[in-house]
């Protein structure tokens, strides 16, 4: 962050200015987007509820029944969502049970944070890597293979697995990177295609002897060696994976804000022509970004294989983490802190969603709706402001910049 280069001290803000900036800040937009998304989710939950549908039939005769049913359906769903994601207050027997949900949330957030950071790097380099899904799969393939077929001592095995995951993802990221660098191929198309190819590749590998669990007919691999497992902290479900994810976030912050490579990545992302003119190798930057991005996405696989989540390579090993990560990176605005917070939010929605599904029968698919609405709204702040009638911070700036753009345009005509 370039704040350190600030020379002049800014005048102390008045309360009015601070309120105004709070009302127009992106944090507020993000918060309101989440609120709207939950409201839409509530409408869907209510609309699909049998009790609500029944009471709606005599809505005008007895509106209290209807609203009671709505409240019951929505309240039930969201309270179990909250209890599944944050703290369990209703069925807990001891302190460990109370905080169990939050540890689960953290566990679910790990792959989202890794993959979200991965995509964030790509976005800031101006590359729309939507291939995290494929990169996670390839990371899982390599990580899994060294995890169950190489028998190494403790600690070393975990490190080798981490390397395997990184290399697998990096390899899958390298392909669109090098194709963009050498032929200008659009990375969006290539990564979409590579996602599907990865799925089929994994499907094929799981038919091979080398990847198949000998005792099973199902397409699943042998179980990972016990030596290839993350250590846990204090008997909680939180393990080394979360610590690594946080370290990765710090590392990405340093890389982007304090290293020359990050400077190059940001410059290329903002203006590739100027970067090229300043002697930066834009093509190689794309390749490096995709290798880093792919590698980080590959690490997302470790939370499946090295944690207690799955421990076996199967066709669904990547779940939908790669796609969810797009929304995580967008919600986190491609910045590490934001990505960690967004990862925790979506991890929580997932953890809570499972409980909600089992307790109230509200299908977890509703989470997808909530997530996508959040991201759509965050991507369109004017829409959120219009919904809540907030002031537009851009208006002044836009007016002046348009005047500026206009005068530059006229200048160019010279």
């Amino acid at each position: 962050m370039s704040d350190t280069t600030q020379e002049q001290s800014t005048p102390r803000p008045t309360w009015r200015v601070m309120l105004r900036s709070a009302a127009t800040s992106s944090y507020l937009t993000s918060f309101l987007a989440i609120v709207v998304a939950l409201l839409i989710g509530a409408i869907l939950i209510g609309a699909a509820d049998a009790q609500v549908q029944q009471t709606a039939a005599y809505l005008f005769a007895q509106p209290s029944d209807f609203f009671g049913a709505v409240g019951h359906a929505v309240g039930g769903a969201y309270s179990s969502l909250f209890q599944g994601a944050v703290v369990n207050v209703s069925t807990a027997n001891n302190a460990a049970d109370v905080i169990a949900p939050i540890t689960k949330t953290i566990a679910y957030s790990v792959p989202l944070i890794f993959a979200g950071l991965a995509l964030g790097i790509g976005f800031r380099a101006g590359m729309f890597n939507i291939g995290a899904q494929g990169q996670i799969i390839l990371g899982a393939v390599l990580c899994g293979y060294v995890g169950f077929s190489w028998h190494l001592p403790i600690v070393i095995h975990v490190i080798v697995c981490l390397i395997g995951a990184f290399v697998g993802g990096a390899l899958w990221g390298f392909i669109p990177g090098i194709l963009k660098a050498k032929t200008g191929a659009n990375e969006v198309i290539v990564t979409i295609m590579l996602n599907s190819i990865a799925v089929f590749l994994l499907g094929w590998l799981l038919t091979l002897q080398a990847f198949r669990k000998p005792t099973s007919n199902a397409p699943i691999s042998p179980t990972m060696d016990p030596s290839a497992q993350f250590p846990h902290f204090f008997g909680t479900p939180i393990d080394l994976g979360f610590v690594l994810a946080i370290l990765a976030a710090v590392g990405v912050w340093w890389l982007m804000e304090r290293s020359t490579l990050g400077f190059r990545i940001r410059a290329v992302g903002e203006n590739p022509d100027a970067a090229r003119t300043a002697g930066m190798n834009v093509s190689m930057t794309y390749v490096w970004v995709m290798i880093l991005s792919g590698g980080l996405a590959g690490l997302a696989a470790t939370s499946q294989l090295l944690s207690s989540a799955s421990q076996q390579l199967n066709a669904n090993i990547a779940s939908t983490f790669g796609f969810d990560a797009i929304t995580v990176a967008l919600l986190g605005r491609s910045k590490p802190v934001g990505t960690v917070l967004a990862g925790l939010l979506f991890g929580g929605l997932r953890a809570g969603g499972y409980l909600m599904q089992s307790v109230t029968g509200t299908p977890i698919d509703i989470i997808l709706v909530v997530q996508s609405v959040i991201v759509l709204l965050i991507a369109a702040p004017p829409l959120v402001r219009a919904l809540f009638r907030l002031p537009d911070p851009e208006r002044r700036r836009r007016a002046t910049s348009r005047a500026h753009a206009r005068s530059t345009r006229e200048e160019v005509t010279a």
């Binding site: 280069t5 600030q6 304090r258 003119t277 348009r402 005068s407 010279a414």
Partner: protein, 530 residues
């Protein structure tokens, strides 16, 4: 049709682009709208053409007030506009472009035969010689401009706005365009001719309105002298003399031999260029836009790889001797590192990262070198220190060095770019259009900095399409046409000779042609304004 603008005002936020402008254009008249870059001419015309909505005032056609909510309305009312950046669709044919928006149809499909007929009819009437079935992207700019005129005429435009139409033309094409304008006026059209070039105004206009800082500063006739027009345009008496000390040319610093560049389709962009630039010398490359100057600068700095030829740098070694370094085919990074500075032509596109801070932009091409970084980690303190020094030295006006460069004015942005490039020890400086789009004050500042480099013994290559800049700065002028040097001539070469050379006529032929051409002192004087 008689056009009248009354008190037309247009604001962008707090910025008043047009301040109560009055303008009357009579039928059959060529009315020149003269003003500096950024004076508000194009804004006014965009208001007239319905692209912007005026904040005040009214537009009258034949005395009747009209209101345009879009270009469609303006066209329907008989107003046509030839934009400076052509509004043509490259992948469409001429005929398709001409009919777009008012398509003749038969049975639901476009009647292409009728479209062709329209193009042919107008093309024949004015001797344009335009093929209706040619794809626009394959046509030279001069022809594309005629397509634009056909487009306007096919919509029965009675008022034709030409926005800086000569910027992309050779002097000869410009003459042809002026003929066309006269023909159109004779046929009864009203023509608004936007320009900042005095010679053209004097040659073709019937009436002149001068605009400065969004206001009309006066009406005059083409008989006014160039100095009068120039003073009206800038608001103060302009010293057309540029003083610079005698060249103290030293050893050769940059040597280019047989440089050739082809594009991917095999088209020749640079054709066997050979020249050298000495220390303390300014070589200015003149020419009409698009004749290979941009490509030459980009090839010298390594952005393009030449297909043949060599670029050799002679620089001072640390022990005081000479190092000869072959730059041919080297990367931009390597060329920058060996002491070549580069100011790109399009500052916004190539010279800066708009979203980066001033501090970051000041180290854009030096981030990997000491003291700004070590082992891949940036030294934030050194970067901030550098920023405050450069900002002070180059008088960059901004709130703070952590402001995004995008928030600065064009002149200040260019100062940042210059500060970055000139803060290193340079053997060669390559500057493309260094003052394009800047105000007079910034131009003077930048010119003085360039001449300062020259005095320090840097070999300077300036690429410019502004003849005034070329003659003001150059020790030698290389005139470029279709990728080759027509000749390298002294800076006191008469303008019309340079003009002929810019159209591809060799120096000797140009001199021969200009024998008997009465040298008008005013024409050489017009300097800055061409």
């Amino acid at each position: 049709m008689r056009l009248e603008l009354r008190h037309v005002t247009k604001k962008f936020g707090d910025f008043i682009a047009n301040d109560a402008i009055d303008l009357i254009v009579e039928p059959g008249q060529i009315h020149a709208l003269l003003g500096e870059n950024g004076a508000g001419k194009s804004t006014l015309m965009n208001v007239l053409y319905g692209l912007y909505e005026a904040d005040g005032g009214e537009i009258l056609l034949d005395g009747v007030p009209v209101h345009f909510s879009g270009p469609g309305d303006a066209m329907a009312a008989g107003i046509g506009m030839v934009h400076q950046h052509f509004m043509l669709i490259p992948v469409f044919t001429v005929a398709e472009n001409v009919i777009l928006g008012s398509e003749p149809t038969t049975g639901g499909l476009i009647d292409i035969a009728q479209a062709r007929a329209v193009v042919r009819e107008i093309s024949d009437r004015f001797g344009f010689d335009v093929d209706p079935d040619a794809l626009v992207e394959t046509l030279p700019v001069g022809v594309q401009q005629r397509v634009e005129i056909i487009k306007a005429l096919s919509r029965h435009a009675q008022i034709l706005i030409l926005d800086e139409p000569t910027a992309v033309l050779t002097p000869q094409e410009t003459d042809e365009l002026m003929d066309i304008m006269r023909q159109l006026a004779t046929a009864g059209a009203s023509i608004v001719f936007i320009t900042h070039k005095l010679r053209e105004v004097q040659e073709v206009a019937d009436e002149i309105t001068v605009i400065r800082l969004g206001k009309v500063v006066g009406h005059t006739k083409p008989t006014a002298s160039q100095n009068e027009l120039a003073s009206m345009m800038v608001g103060r008496h302009v010293d057309l003399e540029v003083t610079k000390p005698q060249a103290t040319a030293g050893d050769v610093a940059l040597e280019v031999t047989g440089l050739e560049l082809l594009d991917t389709d095999g088209r020749v962009l640079l054709d066997d260029l050979s020249f050298s630039v000495a220390r303390g010398e300014v070589l200015a490359v003149a020419g009409v836009q698009g004749n290979g100057q941009t490509e030459l600068a980009e090839t010298l700095i390594g952005l393009r790889r030449p297909t043949a030829g060599s670029v050799v740098l002679h620089r001072a070694a640390e022990d005081g001797g000479q190092v000869v370094e072959d730059l041919t085919g080297k990367s931009v990074k390597a060329i920058l590192a060996s002491g070549v500075g580069f100011v790109p032509e399009d500052r916004g596109k190539d010279g800066m990262v708009a979203g980066f801070t001033i501090a970051e932009n000041l180290i854009l091409d030096q981030v990997t070198s000491a003291p700004f970084s070590q082992w891949g980690a940036m030294n934030m303190r050194a970067i901030a220190h550098n920023a405050s020094e450069r900002v002070a030295e180059y008088d960059v006006r901004s709130g703070s060095s952590s402001a995004a460069l995008a928030t600065l004015s064009g002149g200040n942005q260019q100062k940042v770019v210059m500060a970055r490039e000139l803060s290193r020890d340079l053997t060669v400086l390559i500057a493309s259009q260094p003052t394009r789009g800047l105000d007079i004050g910034s131009i003077e500042f930048i010119h003085s900095r360039i001449l300062q480099q020259r005095e320090k013994g840097t070999a300077v290559v300036i690429v410019s399409t502004e003849l005034n800049e070329v003659t003001a700065l150059a020790d030698r002028i290389a005139v470029m046409y279709e990728g080759r040097f027509v000749g390298i001539v002294p800076p006191d070469t008469p303008r019309h000779v340079l003009g002929l050379m810019m159209a591809g006529v060799s120096y000797d032929d140009a001199i021969a042609q200009s024998q008997g051409h009465e040298t008008d002192p005013g024409e050489i004087m017009e300097g800055i304004w061409q």
